[in-house]
Amino acid sequence: MTAVRIPPVLRAQAGNQKKVEVTGTTVGEALESLLEQFPSLREQVFTQDGSLNRFVNVYVNGRDVRYEQELATPVGESDEVILRPAMAGGR
């Protein structure tokens, strides 16, 4: 099982959990496992054509998967997956 960290903005649709255990060996499979548990998250996380919402960033061990293998990025049991909304940076 891999843990996915849920950002506060999505928690109401994820049983108010900070972390959700999921199965799968890729980011895509891990997210599908998450969405099977919490179907109402689907329209937040994915667009209608099945790609990641541009305002959602997904990280595996701190690396943004858009710059890795996107949904095919491998995940292992000890990896940390973080979902995060795109937010303004500081300065």
Partner: protein, 339 residues
């Protein structure tokens, strides 16, 4: 009595100075005003924190700018852009959403040039940033800290709509922001380190990454550009829906090669190492940049990395960054607005 150099402009003064790097000087020199002294920051090798002996890691010390951050470069370009556009009237108030450094740069330059400045800052930024804004004469308007920079941007836009005296340079959407880095920061890097293979900087507005990246790629199309971005704590994620998310208009995500998400705690650990092993006293985002740069160094067979350190440690002293117990205070530290 006026000397020859007092009457000369920047490029003419440059021509009189001895320097080794085509058109650019090392830190120091003589300038007609503090605004002209922005930039020309040193590039310093940091071998004691580099995990790969086949990689040369350099830090560009932006805290050597007049108000202590890279944002002096941007503030100068933003104000010059306002001046050139004719948007400044005698009663204008320059307003900008900022977590501090851009506002401090704007306020300093505005004081030198005689403009009025207001800044919208999240109410949880460090005390030192507020003090500096005030002492340079900026009016400080608080936005809700739990909304982070998104809240400051929204409030500044609202104020501009309500009062026509407010003129917003808007660093998140103004091409003058990346242009400052394309024309100054990147030129200095190329002059000092033409062999650069990878560049790492913090992701805030995206201006540094876009501007430096654009120029470095013209110099070497194979150069790689990486961002370090903050992992905001639980208290700084006050969006009501993902649709309130924000991608700065000037930031093109396809123009970089990778992004590293770094928590405050990890950034502070790297920051302490930088102070302990290299004697460099930098701000928290610089720790995050070092986390990313070190990871890159581990993954590279050989090469040269330039990491941009955006500000110094002075503005974070009140948060006890260098002395706190990181394990005990982890949740609180990760909730602070330190970028």
């Amino acid at each position: 009595m006026t000397s020859t150099t007092d009457r000369l402009s920047g490029p003419e003064i440059d021509a009189l100075r001895p320097h080794a790097h085509g058109g650019h000087v090392r830190h120091g020199g003589r300038f007609p005003s503090i605004v002209d002294a922005i930039g020309f920051t040193p590039l310093v090798e940091v071998p004691n924190v580099c995990p790969n002996p086949n990689v040369r890691l350099y830090a560009k010390l932006e805290f050597m700018n007049p108000t202590g951050s890279v944002k002096d470069r941007v503030a100068k370009y933003l104000i010059e852009d306002l001046e050139a556009s004719g948007r400044l009237a005698p009663d204008s108030i320059i307003i900008e959403p900022t977590s501090g450094n851009t506002g401090i740069g704007l306020a300093m330059i505005a004081r030198r040039k005689g403009y009025r400045v207001a800044v919208v800052v999240p109410d949880n930024v460090t005390m030192e940033r507020r003090q500096l804004l005030s002492l340079f004469g900026a009016e400080v308007i608080d936005s809700p800290g739990h909304l982070g920079s998104n809240g400051a941007v929204a409030m500044a836009k609202h104020l501009v709509q309500k009062d026509p005296r407010f003129v917003m340079p808007y660093q998140y959407g103004n091409p003058a922001n990346p242009r400052a880095h394309e024309e100054t920061t990147a030129e200095e890097i190329i002059a000092d380190c033409p062999e650069v293979d990878a560049f790492v900087a913090g992701l805030g507005t995206g201006g540094t990454l876009m501007g430096v990246g654009r120029r470095l790629r013209r110099h070497n199309p194979g150069v790689r550009i990486y961002a370090a971005e903050p992992l905001p704590g639980e208290k700084v994620q006050g969006l009501r829906s993902l649709d309130e998310g924000f991608i700065p208009e000037i930031f093109d995500p396809t123009a970089i090669d990778g992004k590293f998400l770094v928590s405050n705690t990890d950034a502070i650990e790297a920051l302490r190492e930088l102070t302990d092993k290299e004697g460099i006293f930098a701000g928290v985002s610089c720790g995050a940049v070092m986390v990313a740069a070190k990871q890159l160094a581990r993954e590279m067979e050989r090469g040269t990395i330039v990491a941009l350190l955006a500000d110094g440690g002075w503005k974070y002293l009140s948060e006890d960054i260098w002395t706190r117990d990181l394990e005990t205070d982890e949740d609180e530290i990760d909730s602070l607005n330190l970028w």
